[in-house]
Subunit: 211 residues, 2 copies
């Protein structure tokens, strides 16, 4: 396999430094030192420190949208789509934890043009969630008394917040966390009737499981 390019080394070093210290606390000199290159090398690969922050944001949100689109295309009912979207998002933490952290922690510091570009993509993702919840209500799978925006943002909150506490070497694996979140969300969204139907049982955790 080919050695990592300078650009890649810079990105990886920056990702880790930004995650740990925040965008503003990390100097270009530190990134340069950590990635074994030079000021010149850095500015040869990136127009600015801002552009670097942007590429980190963009690669992440693009990936997430792709995954969500995949879940939408592969499954038929809103309940299934939501279940798979939630699970695939949480599972993504394994690889993209640092990206997620930077994305939600540092997006305030994107310069205006970059910010707008990222916001557009973030809104696409948000709209996908909104429409799944909406569709689920219309089809009678999800409870009618739940308003779409609040419910959707509650789901986002639950899954996104994970970046604040998840540790790769913690007690629970990403897959376990994903299953628990999916269960919680399904339990609270599905109607009384839907929850009883056999077809929906696969969304729930098995009971009497040893913790």
């Amino acid at each position: 396999m080919p050695a990592k390019s300078t650009k890649q080394r810079i990105t990886e070093a920056a990702l880790q430094l930004f995650e740990e210290n925040g965008f503003h606390a990390v100097t270009v000199d530190k990134i340069v030192k950590e990635s074994n290159t030079s000021k010149g090398g850095f500015y040869h690969n990136f127009k600015s420190k801002d552009e670097l922050l942007y590429t980190i944001h963009d690669s992440f949100i693009t990936y997430v949208i792709d995954k969500a689109a995949e879940a939408h295309a592969s499954y038929h009912t809103p309940a299934e789509k939501l279940y798979e979207t939630v699970r695939s998002f949480v599972k993504m933490f394994e690889v993209y934890r640092a990206h997620v952290t930077v994305f939600y922690q540092e997006s305030l510091y994107l310069s205006p043009d970059y910010f707008d570009s990222i916001k557009k993509k973030r809104d696409i993702y948000k709209d996908m969630m909104f429409s799944v919840v909406k569709e689920g209500k219309e089809r009678g799978e999800f409870r009618d008394e739940l308003p779409v925006p609040i419910t959707s943002m509650a789901i986002f909150g639950m899954i996104n917040w994970t970046y604040k506490w998840y540790k790769a070497d913690g007690q629970y694996s990403v897959k376990e966390i994903a299953d628990i979140y999916a269960d919680l969300i399904m339990q609270s969204l599905l109607t009384e009737q839907a929850r009883k139907e056999p077809a929906y049982q696969r969304f729930f955790l098995r009971t009497n499981r040893v913790m």
Copy 2:
């Protein structure tokens, strides 16, 4: 009523500026200008910009812990305690939205000593949530298959994330949001049996409500 003290004017100006722009993007000069004082006035009231950030953190977390302790003391069952804690936390957004934002967005930039002090208090709050969920499982109110830490953090995520999108002039009031969150959480935590009992119905949204 007495005129606002310089210290108070500084704190309020800083709060708003930090919320909108982030700690590092706000200079002491800007805070000074916005609060109609001077560099001298600022450094007379605060040891450093870091100390200012700390006092904002501390006043918020202290308030939140007090509220949670109140809910614990006033209610008997874990389900009731959780229900009231969630609702009181969300309702707090009305007054403390800026504090919440700064708390979750900028705590990375607290200097080590201040950070430790805040972390201790945050852990107290976290432990209160953990023990309510744990107690609820032990008493058979909450589903046994849900692990305490993940479930607790999921709840925190749902409610804390609100700072990312809540607007005072939005479609939903804080009280409505609080009721919806409380419903979602109760629906997903309560056991099948508990959910049916009349005593627990008050936790849920009324159905057929017009949205």
